[in-house]
Amino acid sequence: MNDDPREVERPTPPPARPSTTGRRGFLARGGLVAAAASAPGLAFGKDENLPPNVPEWTKSLGPGVTASPYGAPSPFEKTVVRRHVEWLTATEQSSINFTPLHELHGIVTPSGLCFERHHGGVPEIDPAQHRLIVHGMVDRPLIFTMDDIVRFPSVSRIHFLECPANGGMEWKGAQMDGVQFTHGMVHCCEWTGVRLSTLLAEAGVKPEAKWLLAEGADAAAMTRSIPIDKALDDCIVCYAQNGERIRPENGYPLRLMVPGWEGNVQIKWLRRVKLGDRPWHHREETSKYTDLMPDGKARQFTFMMEANSVVTSPCPEKPMKHGKGFHEIRGLAWSGRGRIKRVDVSVDGGNTWKAAELQEPVLSKCLTRFRLPWSWDGGPAFVQSRAIDETGYVQPTIDQLRAVRGVNSVYHKNAIHTWRVNSDGTVNNVQIT
């Protein structure tokens, strides 16, 4: 006999249920409750879990530690997903989807929400059969297994990665009514791997080598030429993303990070690095990923992702449903040249600007979260953000960009973006002058 109430034997809990949320799981648990719920005249609607009632999830056990060996977001977050634009490309295998920036907080993008751009689908690569070959203008052509790569001294960095076509649908006018589609070709993760310079030192780069070609193992065998100075500066051959091995769609088992430069050069599924004395002028650096100027000439090797920013709240997906009063303007800024120094926010279409608070840490070539408290008067407003990086580069207006580059350069559209807040709280993508 034991009088200590803490020692009282409890009945064995029921086995874990497949679903713990939603009416179906609730109703399945007891005929009595089900009968009560269906009894006419009993108010048992959507407020059943609000005080003073005790919520259903408080009155029963949830699943145990074996139910979910790899966790997933709450089923209530099912709309927080990448989305693609069906009319944009001919096939899903050579296409793009977009990060839901309006649903993100902080600076790190969950791996499963990172936008995808691939040109031949996502290969399913057995890491035991993956190899990286480093050859060309080197003293010792080398071949590495994944175990080899992981054995090298490692480094972790948090960097943004942006497709240079981010915003490209907006050159001729405001087209996409949502931040997911105007700015969602960017993500920011912690990347872990070995410095490319370490691998190159292992192979011994010959003095005449000035460029390298990076090549993927996917069905597009994607290639880009990269200058040797950048390769030796801060490039990383990565095997991990946000603490775990890279997701297949982001380059499993091995990808190149080229911090601050256009996403396309950061070759996924990396299988080969070849050193040479000049660039290769391959399809993705001539026919694509070059910037066509109004005079018909195209700028080539415009690698740098210049300073950019966007307000993620409010935005078309996150209207001002609360009516007038307090609203924290939130957004993201980034620069391929280094740290964000300041972000200015305007609610009057650029007549008055206020410096926003930057969330620490402010890292180089990394998304930076900014915020500014705002008391909305309920009237129409034009909300903008303007990033300034540590080199002094100021994010330009769309008029400034068009004056130099016209409207057909597709890539590198980093203009100050405008959301119009309407009196009813809805928000639209507009362009202003």
């Binding site: 709309t79 693609h84 405001a174 090549e215 290769w280 000439k297 600007w353 057909n408 507009v430």
Partner: protein
């Protein structure tokens, strides 16, 4: 043999360092990780052809007519019988004089600067659903047809590495590495108050009306 000798030498050096500095962090210039890639291993993957001088072009040849036949079997369903494209699938010909227009058409004939680059791309990625399945002769033939429909190679012609290198593409000088013209001037302390000379004027307000934005509002 030389590997084990290197390993021994490294080991001795490590011992010497340990004696001198205790458990010192060591960053050798080389780590002795990985192994020499064999010539056969490299050959299997070394498929790149350099665009401007054709370095890496393999032996082989193919005619325009052979290429047309292969193209109709393997390429036309996406790119159209004459390279005119098909919906969002890329067009491969035409577009001359369009690069300064409102609707520039960036085709092999109008935009690509170097002919060997076409060989590189076709061999590494095409046909779309069966990449790297074409032989080198087949690739030469298809590239010959590509050049033919762009009026860069006559009917009946046979293409090989030397002839491909000799072709001068119309837009060869159309690319600038380091444009000498200034880009957006985006320096200096930006204005903070009373910055607008004119009231806000909306220049584009189509986004909400176009109806081309996927629904991502969860409704």
């Amino acid at each position: 043999m030389s590997r084990s000798r290197n390993a021994l030498a490294l080991g001795l050096a490590a011992l010497a360092l340990l004696a001198a500095t205790g458990v010192a962090a060591q960053t050798p210039a080389r780590h002795g990780i990985g192994r020499a890639a064999t010539a056969a291993e490299i050959r299997g993957w070394d498929i790149d052809v350099r665009g401007d001088d054709g370095l890496g072009l393999p032996p082989g040849k193919g005619t325009v007519e052979q290429g047309e036949k292969l193209y109709l079997q393997q390429c036309a369903s996406c790119h159209g019988e004459f390279g005119e494209g098909n919906g969002r699938w890329p067009e491969l010909m035409g577009g001359h004089g369009s690069l300064t227009s409102e609707d520039p058409r960036r085709t092999i004939g109008s935009f690509w600067p170097y002919a060997p680059g076409v060989f590189d791309y076709v061999r590494r990625t095409m046909p779309f659903t069966a990449p790297q399945s074409l032989s080198d002769d087949e690739t030469y033939a298809i590239v010959a047809y590509m050049l033919n429909i762009n009026d860069l190679l006559p009917a009946g012609a046979e293409l090989d590495a030397a002839k491909l290198r000799a072709i001068r593409m119309p837009n060869r000088d159309g690319f600038l590495q380091g444009d000498p013209r200034p880009d957006v001037v985006a320096k200096g302390e930006p204005c903070m108050t009373n910055c607008r000379k004119e009231p806000v004027r909306v220049t584009s307000d189509l986004a909400r009306k176009l109806g081309v934005t996927p629904n991502n509002r969860g409704n």
